[in-house]
């Protein structure tokens, strides 16, 4: 165990901190004949027997040339990976159950293209890549997320069979990359709000007085609020628009752990809270989040939503 662990660490270790670019060296690259390679070898043996049997000097030469091609092909397959520079990129958060995408950047500083690269983090879900000469290409490695929290990028198998397909060369990459997985939202009606007038003097019903502009329609908006004329101006190309009015009573919500049914499991309660956060955000509400040990004051907007979802993703009730 000790030796295997050390060896694994030596072989698959990224670099000291796991975020720096890595140049694939020969110690990281493994190579074995592929099924096509075995077929090729078999064909060569049959051809050699044929050449000997019919005493064909050029047949011998052909078989030997093909054997040489096999050896050269091995080196070229190896070379297709060797010296490739892999740089970890970013990965955006996803909800549990969605597919997370880890961005990797492949750099090729050689004057020849590298073709037929294949990256696979989960078996059966490969990404194909080519890197042109002296260019780099960005790839998103899909990994399906199952539960909330940090999802670290599993070991990525970077493999190639280019150019001849007679060998498979591969290297394992394990950059320190992680992606935040938000809990899977559970749709539930928002808890009763305590509409507190914001700023006091601006009370009114539903904020439908002063026209303040348009915003894109969201599925939750009633069709009655769609500004049909304004929407039609874009010749139906853009999304439907909703008239927005300033003022009015801003709904202020405190999404509290305690508001969810205590009989449910923790994960379900987190899911419900997540659903509430999304709903509140979609309704443009002012909302806060109260979890055991965490208290996020009310607020709104994209950044606030992220903050709440992050807290939910990492919360340990």
């Amino acid at each position: 165990m000790g030796i295997v662990a050390t060896l694994k660490q030596k072989l698959f270790r990224w670099q000291s901190d796991g975020t720096a670019p890595l140049r694939l060296g020969q110690r990281r690259i493994f190579i074995v004949p592929s099924r096509g390679g075995l077929l090729y070898a078999l064909a060569l043996i049959v051809m050699l027997i044929g050449a000997i049997n019919y005493n064909l000097a050029l047949g011998h030469a052909l078989v030997f040339l093909l054997a040489g091609l096999g050896v050269v092909g091995m080196i070229h397959t190896f070379r297709n990976l060797h010296g490739l520079i892999v740089t970890p990129g970013r990965s955006g958060p996803v909800f549990a159950g969605e597919t997370a995408h880890f961005e990797l950047m492949l750099d090729n500083d050689r004057p020849t293209p590298r073709l037929g690269l294949e990256l696979e983090a989960e078996s059966g879900n490969p990404v194909f890549a080519t890197v042109n000469r002296k260019k780099s290409s960005k790839l998103n490695i899909p990994v399906s997320s199952k539960s909330r929290g940090w999802l670290t990028l599993p070991r990525v198998r970077l493999s190639t069979r280019y150019p001849l397909g007679l060998y498979t060369a591969w290297a394992y990459l394990q950059p320190a990359m992680r992606c935040l997985v938000y809990p899977q939202p559970i749709a539930a009606p928002l808890p009763d709000s305590s509409p507190t007038p914001l700023g006091g003097e601006r009370s009114g019903d539903g904020g439908q007085e002063d026209f303040a502009g348009f915003r894109d329609r969201q599925p939750a908006d009633s069709p009655r609020h769609v500004a049909w004329k304004a929407s039609a101006r874009n010749a139906g190309e853009g999304p439907l628009l909703i008239k927005q009015f300033a003022g009015g009573a801003q709904v202020e919500l405190m999404l509290d752990w305690q508001l969810t049914d205590a009989a449910l499991s923790d994960e379900t309660r987190i899911g419900i809270l997540t659903g509430w956060v999304l709903a509140a955000d979609a309704a443009d509400a002012h909302y806060g989040l109260r979890l055991p040990g965490i208290d996020i004051p009310t607020g709104s907007g994209e950044r606030h939503r992220q903050l709440c979802l992050e807290a939910l993703a990492l919360c340990q009730p």
Binding site: Q15, S16, D17, T19, A20, P21, Q26, G36, L39, Y40, A43, V46, M47, I49, G50, A51, I52, N53, Y54, N55, L56, A57, L58, G59, H60, A61, L62, V63, F64, L65, L66, A67, G68, L69, V71, V72, G73, I75, H76, F78, R79, H82, G83, T87, T112, P113, L115, G116, E118, S123, G124, P126, F128, T130, R161, Y162, P163, L164, G165
Partner: protein, 645 residues
């Protein structure tokens, strides 16, 4: 592991496969039955059309009957599905049918492997230099196809071809090493199918009017000879083939029964030479008259023909020794003599009457002289003699008086037998063309010849060439001089222009070198080559070691090429990278977005003990990079050196 996405064949890879199929099967169209070529071509066109129209490929219920029909056709044509010609026909058929089944990457791999295999089959028919070059080009194409299959849609044809060329070029040193050092086994490993050797021209074991005249119109090379010493005079170059003793009135045949052993006494110093015989599928070796020493696998027949133990099915080298002057069977078996006096009773009465008339009044020597004088008087040497009737010899001697060497030899022997002198016809070649470029004497089918041999008491068998009496040029300078202009001789030997002849000599010398050193590289030559390398009696073990070390060197060279990275030219950048490598060893990696100053800050946090030295490197680097290089390069070098301490 394999997923459908990886396995699916991309549409733009398909034309490469069509090209592969066409290039690897097309040369076979030259010797295949035409219907097979038509079917193969139609299959290819169908596949191309379906691809062009982007239509679905035919299903199994069409393909299986097609395979059945194709196999049945081949079975009907060749009466077998195996063997050389039928096997090749099957491969060609399958190759083109596979194009109708190109769905996945695996199908494509099968096409490419089949393509490589088909390349080998061409060598069953020809191993000449042009074939070799054509197949090298085809191999390039097939390899490019393989690369294209794995390179995916984003590979450009030019890059693909260039990469394939590079791979093939890099494979050539391996081929040379393996070709020279791989332990050679002389085949065959088992019995070859009966159709392995067909379509070879050469002398046959019988002779009828016109048979040699027809052979002479073929410019192919029959054999090449290199003499140890000087070239013997041309008129003595009689290459002895089958001896024909039995005559049925039209055709001369070899006697198939047992012959007493030949008693040969050589009267002139022996001449050593090496003969490289082209395949003629017969057992005679065409030694210079008369052979005195033969290779161990050959023996001398009772009629002085060198006979090999096996038919010569492929180009083969023989070491022979001959004496130009000899005495052969001075005391001959009476049975043999009787056989060589026999004439069919009811044929050629005029000739026999003439011979009987000569016999009454003359000694044998005088009879021979009379016959030769008769030919010399008013006979014509031509490749296009008139047709002869039932009494062919009579017609020739008394009416047409035009004929080729077989007519003269036959008529002469009939006259001799009629006059009571044992005589027979000898087939073979006469003369040859000396190529001054490589010192080989080239003997062609157009040098085919027939002459006579008479047995004289006390002298034994003596060669008499009646053609020499009609046309001395034939013997002294060659057939092209002996025949009138307009005779159907091969173009090649008829053209007399010097520059064309020089070109031909050069081409034939190149071909000969190819045959001798490449195609003729056999276990024997391999031993000689290794002895020259300093491995006098190499067994398979030392061969394996030599082979392994040579291949190891080549692989090492290639690995060096593969691992070689262009060095960084800018000394400042190089020094900076040295410093970064040193940091990485101390577990501080520079992120790509990090500026030198940011990195220095981080080093101060993570590795305070390095901070000061690294800060100096950063300062020097920034000045050297963005300031005046000349002055500060040394500062940077010193700073990096100090960091590494």
């Amino acid at each position: 592991m394999s997923t459908p996405a990886r396995e699916a064949l991309d549409r733009h890879a398909t034309p490469w496969l069509f090209a592969t199929a066409l290039a690897t099967t097309a040369p076979h169209f030259m010797h295949q039955p035409p219907w097979l070529s038509a079917v193969a071509g139609a299959l290819l066109l169908w596949a191309v059309w379906l691809w062009w129209k982007d239509q679905r490929l035919p299903g199994r219920w069409i393909l299986i009957p097609l395979v059945g029909a194709g196999s049945a056709g081949i079975l009907f044509e060749f009466h077998t599905l195996f063997g050389r010609d039928a096997g090749v026909a099957m491969l060609v058929m399958f190759m083109n049918m596979k194009l109708l089944e190109l769905k996945s990457q695996r199908d494509a791999t099968v096409v490419v492997t089949l393509g490589y295999f088909l390349l080998l089959t061409h060598y069953l028919y020809s191993q000449s230099i042009p074939t070799g070059l054509w197949l090298l080009a085809t191999m390039w194409l097939v390899t490019a196809t393989l690369i294209r299959l794995h390179g995916g849609p984003s590979s450009r044809p030019r890059d693909t071809l260039r990469h394939a060329g590079l791979l093939c070029l890099q494979a050539i040193p391996f081929m040379l090493v393996l070709f020279l050092l791989f332990p050679r086994i002389s085949g065959p490993l088992w019995g070859l199918p009966s159709d392995a050797f067909t379509g070879k021209t050469g002398l046959s074991d019988s002779m009828s009017p016109g048979s040699i005249a027809q052979l002479v119109q073929n410019g192919d090379i029959a054999f090449r000879v290199r003499f140890d010493g000087a070239l013997p005079p041309r008129q003595k170059l009689y290459w002895r083939g089958p001896v024909m003793e039995q005559f049925d009135g039209t055709t001369w045949h070899q006697y198939k029964g047992r012959q007493p052993a030949a008693q040969l006494e050589s009267l002139s110093p022996p001449i050593g030479y090496e003969s490289t015989l082209e395949a003629h599928n017969q057992r005679w070796l065409l030694a210079l008259d008369a052979p005195v020493a033969l290779p161990p696998e050959a023996a001398l027949s009772g009629t002085l023909t060198a006979i090999n133990s096996k038919p010569v099915h492929e180009r083969q080298r023989f070491r022979l020794t001959s004496s130009l002057d000899y005495r052969f069977n001075p005391s001959e078996d009476p049975l043999v003599l009787r056989r060589n006096l026999a004439l069919p009773a009811n044929r050629n009465p005029q000739s026999r009457a003439l011979a009987a008339q000569w016999r009454a009044a003359n000694a044998p020597e005088a009879i021979i002289a009379k016959a030769l004088a008769l030919f010399a008087a008013d006979f014509t040497y031509t490749l296009q003699p008139p047709l002869l009737g039932v009494h062919g010899i009579d017609d020739f001697l008394f009416q047409t008086k035009r004929g080729f060497c077989e007519h003269y030899a036959a008529a002469f022997v009939v006259l001799m037998r009629g006059a009571g002198i044992p005589a027979r016809v000898v087939g073979g070649y006469q003369g040859g063309e000396f190529n001054p470029l490589d010192g080989y004497l080239v003997v062609r089918q157009s040098d085919a010849h027939a002459w006579a041999e008479v047995w004289l008491d006390g002298q034994g068998w003596r060669r008499v060439d009646p053609t020499a009496a009609v046309s001395p040029n034939r013997i002294e300078t060659g057939i092209a001089d002996a025949l009138a202009f307009g005779e159907p001789l091969p173009m090649l030997i008829q053209i007399r222009a010097d520059w064309i002849r020089t070109l031909r000599y050069r081409w034939e010398a190149i071909n000969n070198a190819w045959n001798q050193s490449v195609l003729g590289y056999d276990p024997q030559r391999q031993r000689e080559f290794l002895a020259r390398l300093g491995l006098p009696d190499a067994d398979w073990r030392s061969l394996t070691i030599a082979l392994g070390s040579a291949c190891g060197l080549l692989v090492a060279g290639l690995m060096g090429w593969a691992l070689y990275k262009q060095p960084q030219r800018d000394p400042v950048v190089r020094l900076w990278h040295q410093a970064l490598r040193h940091l990485a060893r101390r577990k501080v990696d520079c992120a790509p977005w990090e500026t030198p100053l940011d990195l220095a800050r981080r080093v101060r946090e993570q590795r305070p003990e390095l901070a000061e030295a690294f800060q100096r490197v950063v300062d020097a680097y920034l000045v050297a990079r963005y300031g005046n290089t000349d002055k500060h390069l040394k500062t940077l070098r010193d700073a990096v050196a100090r960091l590494r301490q």
